[in-house]
């Protein structure tokens, strides 16, 4: 169980997260939604230890994560596939995948885990010697997820997997996400594409300029006009603190 309480994160003078609290139970798929600049990526970066919160707590199974080195957080099994994929363009697909396994305690099952990833994403096996930068957007997203999977995540955090991808590819990716979810992987999904995200989620949390505006089960949020209002009012030019 991952629990965030009263999380505050600032980038210099910009107060990006203002007292964010949320919970993620084992096996759940929770979506973190919200318009641009709401603080979704910041939340993931805080959990991963890249960004230090100024106050608040991030606890996993009772262990306080805030202030830990990113390495240790990866060792605890909390893995992020970041926004924009951020695969290593100059490394081959195979090398990229290998980097996912850097912190793993048991290296011996790497080969079989690699087979599983290839079974999930056959295109990666086909292109394994190619440089990561030569892959298409969708393929890079698969690579990013595959790389994260090889770290044997207990919690998998995906930041905007649908970003910049064609609808057909998005459908594929979400099918994979759904598949992982049904296999019991705990997932924290950040998405701008609210519709697709809500469809696969158990629960959703809606962020608006750094605070939790709304949260609830898929059923509760599906018809909620508040969701629309938050997305649209932002689009009409609300205060702009770009702090995603």
């Amino acid at each position: 169980m991952l629990r965030l309480e009263g999380l505050n994160v600032s980038y210099g003078h910009v107060h990006a997260l203002k007292g964010v609290s949320l919970e993620l139970s084992d096996g759940e798929l929770v979506s973190l939604l919200g318009p641009n600049g709401a603080g979704k990526s910041t939340t993931l970066m805080a959990i991963s230890g890249i960004v230090r919160p100024s106050s608040g707590s991030i606890a996993y199974d009772g262990v306080e994560l805030a202030g830990m080195d990113p390495r240790e957080i990866v060792e605890m099994g909390i893995i992020q596939a970041p926004e924009g994929r951020r695969i290593f363009g100059g490394l081959s697909v195979a090398e990229n995948l290998r980097m996912g396994a850097v912190r793993r305690k048991d290296k011996r099952s790497f080969k079989s885990d690699l087979e599983e990833v290839f079974a999930l994403f056959p295109i990666l096996e086909k292109r394994q010697r190619q440089a990561g930068g030569t892959l298409s957007g969708g393929e890079q997203q698969m690579l990013a997820i595959g790389r994260a999977l090889l770290a044997k995540p207990r919690i998998l955090m995906l930041d905007e997997p649908s970003l910049g991808l064609a609808p057909l590819v998005v459908k594929e990716i979400f099918e994979v996400i759904e598949g992982l979810h049904s296999r019991g992987v705990t997932i924290l999904l950040v998405e701008q594409n609210a519709k697709a995200a809500i469809a696969v989620s158990d629960r959703c949390v809606l962020l608006e300029t750094g605070t939790v505006a709304l949260s609830g089960t898929k059923a509760e949020l599906a018809g909620n006009p508040e969701v629309e209002r938050i997305y649209l009012s932002r689009a009409e030019g609300g205060a702009s603190h770009d702090a995603t």
């Binding site: 991963s48 890249i50 990113p70 390495r71 957080i73 990866v74 060792e75 893995i79 992020q80 970041p82 951020r86 695969i87 290593f88 363009g89 100059g90 490394l91 090398e95 990229n96 290998r98 980097m99 996912g100 850097v102 912190r103 790389r147 770290a151």
Partner: protein, 298 residues
């Protein structure tokens, strides 16, 4: 000696000098790739290696062992440099890094002057280095061939390291995207230390070969080589290891070409021409040969 043989002789010269430049430029590239640090003090690592060899050899160690130890000493010096001067300012921005490296080089050069005085000392290169090898009518110094051979061996080892070992691949990954590397749990401190260690050991090797070539050691000896290394690195594209190698050999060839082509009245201006050509290159390829035409994306 025919035209062809003369060309061959000059080519071997160019390649042997280019080898040294390449080895130095690699050290700069590795460190810049990850930290965006322009390490002026890299030249002083050359000096450290040379003095190491000098002292150890004088203490009785046979030359080859002293050379290896000298290179190792450079490696340690590089690690210390990273730990004391550069790690504390990680994240402070490119300018701070550059300034610190400037300060470190002034510090090391003058420390060398304080300890050893500015006077140069003769370098104890073994006879084998000074022999002249004859390949037909072509005469080359054995040092040239040794330089080339050493570089090739080291390049092969380095390639194996960065493509087959986990830390080597991590190094390339970190140079490409530091945040993504941290997200994967890569130990960035360890990777940076490895980059410094390897680059500095390479500098130490260059120290041995360079001192053997000029026959002496002095505290300011690293200055000229590091300037050349910068040119090589920039030509190839800062941060790129293959670029550094390419740049090194291109520089070696251009220097020899200019030597041959410039009229004798302009010969002393050779270095000015080299740097001028560098500026012209940057006009067309602002990020070096292997860097793109575009500026950095957001």
């Amino acid at each position: 000696m025919t035209q062809l043989e003369y060309l061959l002789q000059q080519l071997i010269n160019a390649v042997s000098m280019g080898s040294l430049y390449a080895l130095m430029a690699i050290g700069l590239a590795m460190v810049f790739g990850i930290l965006r640090l322009i390490n002026f003090a890299h030249g002083d690592l050359i000096m450290v290696g040379s003095y190491g060899v000098l002292l150890l050899n004088a203490a009785g160690l046979p030359f080859i062992a002293a050379a290896a130890a000298g290179a190792a000493l450079s490696g340690v010096a590089g690690l210390l440099m990273e730990r004391l001067a550069y790690r504390p300012i990680r994240g402070a921005g490119d300018v701070a890094m550059l300034l610190n490296s400037f300060a470190v080089t002034i510090l090391l050069e003058n420390l060398g002057i304080v300890i050893f005085t500015a006077k140069s000392r003769p370098f104890p290169s073994p006879e084998a280095f000074n022999a002249v090898v004859e390949l037909g009518a072509v005469r080359v110094s054995s040092l040239s061939l040794i330089s080339i051979a050493t570089t090739v061996i080291l390049l092969v080892l380095l390639t194996i390291f960065v493509t087959k070992t986990e830390i080597g691949i991590s190094l390339r990954a970190t140079a490409q995207d530091l945040v993504a590397a941290r997200l994967m749990g890569i130990d960035v401190n360890k990777v940076i230390a490895a980059a410094f260690l390897i680059g500095s050991c390479l500098a130490g090797v260059v120290g041995v070969l360079w001192s053997a070539r000029i026959g002496k050691v002095d505290p300011l000896m690293g200055f000229q080589p590091v300037l050349k290394a910068f040119v090589a690195s920039v030509v190839g594209g800062l941060g790129s290891i293959p670029g550094a190698v390419l740049g090194g050999y291109i520089l070696g060839i251009i220097e020899v070409l200019l030597q041959g082509l410039l009229p004798s009245s302009l010969a002393p201006f050779r270095d000015a021409f080299v740097f001028a050509l560098l500026i012209v290159l940057l006009l067309f390829r602002p990020n070096g040969i292997m860097g793109g035409r575009d500026k950095e994306k957001i």
